[in-house]
Symmetry: C2
DNA sequence: CTGTGTGCAAACACTTTGCAGGTGT
DNA sequence: ACACCTGCAAAGTGTTTGCACACAG
């Protein structure tokens, strides 16, 4: 897939094996991944540090975004097309859902965060909404 | 304040100096505190470990609740009266606000989380909503 | 060739666990 | 008296930093 190559290029990132494979993992999974998940699923084992730095770089460049987790750990998910405009500015006003059964966190791209009325004087800049429960796959029990 | 003593008693917790002081800190601050914050503000220095265990116990007993943080760290805030019923069951359906200026995270007890329509098959059990922006005090610039 | 990415080692921060002794009730 | 809390030491986990070398453009 030269799709990955052009994606990296779009975001001013050099094409390296490590980045290609990490990006490939994110594109093949529909749920958020923690650093550990990425490391485990990497076919060739790259250095732990490299993975950390790659994720950091991806976030800075806007390829992926952080996803809140109730445990306190950090997870990441791919930014979809509607995540950014031409200026690469992001608006992540979608809901994240964590299934308490399978443990996976997914972006509910179609569920947007409803408007909120904050108290006088509060200015809202960013919003993170994490819903926990049972996902559609696990709920079939 | 024997208020603290009775509060500890209410939650089946022994009255100790450490717990009293930690609880006192939470009651005197209106914002969420990380473990480090608590440790720093403790007048007498108790062991790091004791603070960890105390916080853990408080959460288990329902005195305080975890507050999501965008950084991944864990913060805690006092549960208000409306947090639990007679059976000590919690419902934290209020919004948390983190000010990007002063860095403080506060519970907006009066702003409740709006209803959400999840996709077919998803069951919602718990919801965490973190809003980031500028709080009323910092916005006066 | 030049700037950036990678690997290795080490440091650092955060949190948990085991055990011995002290304390609340 | 007994159960529970605390402190100390140590280990476990997650993340960052410095430096030398390798590699992409």
């Amino acid at each position: 897939m030269s799709q990955i190559k052009s994606l990296l290029k779009d975001y001013d990132l050099r094409h390296t094996e490590c980045r290609e494979e990490i990006l490939d993992i994110f594109m093949s999974k529909s749920h958020a991944l923690a650093h550990g998940d990425v490391e485990t699923q990497l076919p060739a084992r790259f250095d732990r540090v490299t993975v950390y730095r790659t994720l950091k770089t991806f976030v800075e460049k806007g390829l992926i975004h952080k996803v809140l987790d109730d445990e306190g750990g950090t997870k990441y998910a791919l930014c979809k097309d509607n995540c950014h405009g031409h200026d690469h500015q992001h608006h992540h006003d979608h809901v994240h859902f964590k299934c308490n059964d399978c443990g996976l966190t997914t972006c509910l791209e179609n569920v947007s965060i409803p408007a909120l009325t904050l108290p006088q004087g509060y200015k809202r800049l960013e919003t993170n909404l994490l819903v926990q429960g049972i996902c559609d796959k696990c709920g079939v029990s």
